[in-house]
Amino acid sequence: MELLDYAFMQRALLAAVLVGVTAPAIGIYLVQRRQPLMGDGIGHVAMTGVGLGFLLNTSPVWMATAVSALGAVLMELIRWYGRTRGDIALAMLFYGGMAGGVMLVNLTPGGSNANLSSYLFGSLSTVSPSDVTAISILAAFVIVVTLGLRRQLFAVSQDEEFARVTGLPVRALNLLVAVTAAVTVTVAMRVVGLILVSALMVVPVAAAQQLTRSFAATFVIAVALGVTVTIGGTVTSYYQDVPPGATIVLLTIAAFIALTALAAPLARRRARAASAAQPAREPAECAIPATRSAGDEVGA
């Protein structure tokens, strides 16, 4: 593999693998909480961080991390307190973050929106050694949180009310998910770009669950898929001169379509196997509808 001889490609592949692992790893909890688009919102807010990084002449990656983490915490707070106007407040945050980024970049001496575009759409080949350091540290944090606290995060994302009664610090864990998602956005920013980052958080998870029946398997397959498409997209972009971010996202969607097509016969086979294995299991169940409305009264 000649492409590994180039230092910039080594950095690009390392960054791509880290994104392939971290984005689905936190994305699965967002999907489980039914907030799959939260990553998208954080991506918008992160633009203000990038702009601030340019204006203050500091690292856009670290500045984006700080600002998007702040934005994610704000979103979480809006989710708690802003019951009725929550969606409006979130919209303000999203578009305000995007507009803020554009404004700040243009205020920077010699800055223009061209500087932004490598963050908006990713720019793998320009990943610097200091970027790789930042991305590695941030990715390590995401992996420690999503794997180390998987039981707690599973419980909170599955059923918040029940999690509270098991004594879990529900608010702290929700904030941690928000901050971890923000960190993941900035990890992925240089690879797929802020506009497309949410795709890598959501689509591998959606694709994996076409095949899986458990959370653990969904997690493993989503991460494996994430790594496959990020490496595949990076390598393709090297040989074909196509933008890596867009290639990665399109590959992910292709994988989703392929797995969905594969899932239908698999589900049929499972159903046949299940009915063959346990022919007499609770025969009465067949006569009873699978779901009932809560008001359905069945007396003894």
């Binding site: 699965i28 999907v31 489980q32 909480r33 039914r34 799959p36 606290l149 998987r150 039981r151 707690q152 599973f154 419980a155 994302s157 599955q158 059923d159 009310e161 029940f162 999690a163 509270r164 009664v165 098991t166 004594g167 879990l168 998870v205 669950q209 899986t212 029946r213 458990s214 959370f215 653990a216 969904t218 346990q278 299991r281 609770e282 009465a284 169940e285 009873i288 509808p289 699978a290 779901t291 009932r292 409305s293 809560a294 008001g295 359905d296 009264e297 069945v298 007396g299 003894a300």
Partner: protein, 266 residues
């Protein structure tokens, strides 16, 4: 079923649940208007009432899910805001609250009920065993690896009860455990509950009607419009074999005027 165990002193000294003058609002609408409720150790108490009477809000205030504007709530003799010993409490929410956007197996769901007994969420052999036992109690062992989405309403309810039992709690709080549950599962649930009660568990149940759990219940507390209107022996069924839902408590009946009946459908 009453408990003639020998912990009579304990019962008198420390109620498991104590609510005193609890008020709660949802928005600006008062839902609880000064509720007193005590559940002693080993007691099985049913909280009854029509839709909107405040019975669900009452249990949700006990577990801290609904903010309380006035009054006191004690759990095991400790004010609720200082209560940390949550592994002593098993909670079974209404079935609708528990669904995630990612597939999860029965074992994965039940395991989350064991978290209160673990340190930093690390599972030991004893924790795995407790999860397995909880599944056996509700007769769901053969479905342990199935996704919860593939279950019937009654089976799903059994999973939620197993999740509460996984922590081996002393107190079970259940919100409408029989709602939308098929006959086979109702029998499993009633049997499971009986076993827990025989082992000394304290139970607070929100019920729409006494139904198949009636023989287990020591005491019934009836709410109407956010106030307790009956606190005493479970209302006698009028016509033992009348279908549940046959008799109604009229929502506008004067406080405590009529004996309350099995079918508390209103």
């Amino acid at each position: 079923m009453t408990h003639d165990t020998d912990d009579t002193e304990d019962r008198v000294s420390e109620p498991v649940i104590r609510l005193h003058g609890v008020r709660a609002e949802l928005g600006s609408r008062p839902v609880l208007r000064g509720i007193d409720l005590t559940v002693a150790r080993g007691e099985v108490v049913a909280l009854l009432g029509a839709n909107g009477s405040g019975k669900s809000t009452a249990v949700r205030s006990i577990i801290g899910q609904v903010p309380v504007s006035a009054g006191e709530i004690d759990l095991f003799g400790t004010p609720r805001h200082r209560f940390r010993d949550w592994s002593r409490v098993g909670y079974v929410p209404q079935r609708t609250t528990a669904s995630g956007g990612v597939p999860a197996t029965v074992t994965e769901i039940v395991s989350s009920g064991r978290l209160s007994r673990t340190r930093f969420g690390l599972f030991r052999r004893a924790d795995q065993d407790a999860v397995r036992r909880a599944l056996e109690l509700v007769d769901m062992t053969d479905r342990a690896r199935d996704p919860v989405d593939a279950l019937s309403g009654g089976q799903h309810q059994r999973v939620l009860i197993a999740r509460a039992l996984a922590a081996e709690p002393e107190l079970l709080i259940m919100d409408e455990p029989m709602a939308g549950v098929d006959l086979a599962s109702q029998e499993v649930l009633a049997r499971t509950l009986r076993e827990q009660v025989d082992a000394g568990a304290t139970v607070l149940l929100v019920l729409h009607e006494l139904g198949p759990l009636e023989p287990l219940i020591d005491r019934a507390v009836v709410l109407r419009d956010g106030c307790v209107v009956h606190d005493g022996p479970p209302p006698k069924a009028v016509g033992q074999h009348a279908l549940p839902g046959h008799d109604h408590v009229h929502p506008h009946a004067p406080t405590g005027a009529e004996p309350l009946r099995t079918g508390l459908l209103s």
